[in-house]
């Protein structure tokens, strides 16, 4: 049976949904073990057990977060060796992909990013060229490294839990050739769902003209995350982490509501695999209408507040 190592970086007080998804995929491929960096709370340990984790690999060094990925990749490579892993699964974040990249070189393992599904034989499914193709790919090496996008499976605990033993891993010292994090500023949490994982996204562009208020109210009525075009983030109306598109985030929610966005190719690259697209734009010629399932030629400052009020009215 294949051995699958799941990398969980700084789980905090409880495992994130994306981590539970990785553990669920791991179980469908073989025997699950985990490499965990950072503090390990009791809650996290018991969830790992409930998800069928057979062993927990823990780094000997506590300062991995002080460096940009080199030492984390070295830890994960040592853990993969110790576990005899055939498959390593990591998050599809920028950092997750970089760790996977370096790990791949260390292990001589093929790396596949942006994976949305994994077959039992290790074949990975993903989309390429800004969502215009869906492909299957496979590592041709004995070990494969996959980074999996959030919302790829429904998390499910194992039928029978485990009592994983904790195995310390000696981290080779690669700090001399690593970039060091010298200062870190935490960003305030928005209280809304995480953009990459949200079921519904309400996104605004230059047309919001500095006022995201109507979008925020609609987002709150729908339990949605807020996104933006580059024009809106460049203008400083909203943080860069809200940017959707080629150089921002790629989202694939159930519903994407685009307001005051023209629909340039770089914007489309980040959202055209959404299940349902709604567009509100004053200009009937906007390219966004070419991909909208429901398009409204109109003023977002009229349409969005009316929709929000109607949703609230229907809910009583």
């Amino acid at each position: 049976m294949a051995k699958v190592l799941v990398f969980i970086d700084n789980p905090g007080a409880a495992l994130k949904k994306s981590s539970l998804e990785l553990l669920t995929i791991a179980r469908s491929l073989g025997e699950t073990v985990a490499a965990v960096n950072g503090e390990l709370h009791d809650d996290v340990a018991s969830t790992l057990a409930a998800y069928g984790t057979q062993a927990l690999y823990r780094p000997s060094a506590a300062d991995l977060d002080d460096y940009l990925v080199g030492p984390k990749a070295a830890f994960l490579a040592a853990a993969a060796d110790a576990a005899g892993a055939d498959v390593v699964l990591a998050e599809n974040s920028a950092e997750g992909k970089e760790i996977a990249a370096r790990l791949g070189i260390r292990l001589g393992a093929g790396v596949i990013t942006d994976v949305v599904a994994v077959d039992p034989d290790g074949t990975a499914h993903k989309s390429v060229l800004a969502g215009s193709y869906t492909t299957t790919a496979k590592a041709t090496t004995p070990v494969s490294v996959l980074t999996v996008k959030p919302n790829s499976v429904t998390p499910e605990p194992a039928v029978t839990g485990t009592a994983p033993e904790s195995i310390p891993v000696q981290v080779p010292d690669v700090t001399a050739a690593a970039a060091r994090v010298t200062a870190r500023t935490e960003k305030p949490a928005s209280g809304r769902p995480d953009l990459s994982e949200a079921r519904v996204v309400v996104a605004g562009g230059r047309g919001v003209d500095g006022n995201f208020g109507p979008l925020e109210e609609l987002a709150d009525a729908l339990g949605a995350a807020i996104g933006a075009s580059r024009a809106a983030t460049d203008a400083g109306w909203i943080g860069h982490d809200a940017q959707i598109g080629q150089t921002g985030k790629t989202v694939a929610p159930q519903l994407y509501i685009s307001a005051g966005i023209s629909g340039a190719i770089q914007q489309k690259a980040g959202m055209q695999t959404a299940k349902v697209i709604v567009a509100v734009n004053k200009d009937a010629e906007s390219p966004v209408f070419e991909i909208a399932d429901f398009g409204i030629v109109g003023d977002l400052f009229q349409v969005l507040p009316q929709a929000t009020a109607e949703i609230k009215k229907r809910r009583g």
Binding site: G70, K187, A292, I296
Partner: protein, 270 residues
């Protein structure tokens, strides 16, 4: 006097996203007929030019070498880089490179970088945040691992001083200040600067600049280490996603917000 810099900028020749892009052939590789210099690599080139210009530019002995790996047409990405302001160009081209994945690409680029640094090692290797066709962002990190260098990826700002670099990197939950010793591999985002366009003077000057073509033999890489045989991943199937078609478009006559909610209710999205 400031120190002089030797910077290698990695520029990729990619299919123009303004046209339909296709996967072709048995290995499902990207059709490169309508290709351009990857627009995300223009930010890396601009960053290199700003750093060297601040130290007296070419006249003071600073060098910006544009390096592209790809088939014959990729020389156009090198030429464009020279027009924008790079001091010299290098085109790594060999039939055996076709179909290389990130692992094979980083192996060949690492060998080329070592070759170009045989006399004077580069201080900095600058790349784009991701290629606009491969979109993996794997190459910069894999290069750093292969070269044993510090990696600073997704830099939104970059400064150099006394053999050390400082960069800012914007994450989802936090923003970081990063420091690393030179030489280092740095990938930059589209937030770092506003790339310049080639002007007439630049286009004329580029005609006199040198483009060196390197083969695998020149950089000491065996054909089996790259291309399809040297790749560690294979694309098995590729299917074009049916293009999205427009749905219902209405013009607001005062009740579009309500119609929107009706649409959402009908789609069970409320």
């Amino acid at each position: 006097m400031e120190e002089t810099l030797k910077i290698i900028v990695l520029v990729k020749h990619v299919p123009d996203a303004q046209f339909d892009r296709h996967l072709t052939g048995e290995a499902n590789t990207v059709d490169r007929s309508e290709s351009i210099l990857s627009e995300l690599d223009e930010y890396a080139l601009e960053a290199a030019l700003q750093l060297t210009e601040a130290r007296g530019g070419e006249a003071a002995g600073n060098k910006v070498i544009a390096l592209s790996m790809g088939p014959a047409g990729a020389v156009n990405a090198v030429k464009k880089s020279l027009q924008i302001g790079a001091t010299e160009g290098v085109h790594l081209s060999d039939e055996a490179l076709a179909g290389s994945d990130a692992a094979a690409t980083s192996l060949a680029l690492a060998a080329a970088i070592r070759h170009l640094g045989a006399d004077v090692p580069a201080d900095l290797i600058l790349t784009g945040m991701s290629s606009t066709d491969g979109e993996t962002s794997l190459v910069p990190a894999q290069l750093a691992e292969r070269l044993g260098l510090p990696q600073v990826t997704f830099a939104a700002s970059l400064e150099l001083d006394a053999g050390k670099l400082t960069a800012r990197r914007d994450g989802d939950t936090h923003a970081d200040t990063i420091e690393a010793a030179l030489p280092a591999v740095v990938s930059v985002t589209d937030q770092i600067n506003d790339p310049r366009y080639p002007n007439f003077k630049g286009i004329m000057a580029a005609k006199k600049k040198t483009i060196t073509t390197l083969s695998l033999a020149d950089i000491g890489v065996d054909a089996a280490q790259v291309g399809k045989s040297g790749s560690w991943t294979a694309v098995e199937t590729a299917e074009a996603r049916p293009p999205r078609t427009a749905g219902t478009i209405i013009t607001d006559e005062g009740d579009a917000g309500i119609q929107l909610v009706e649409f959402l209710a009908a789609q069970k999205l409320l």
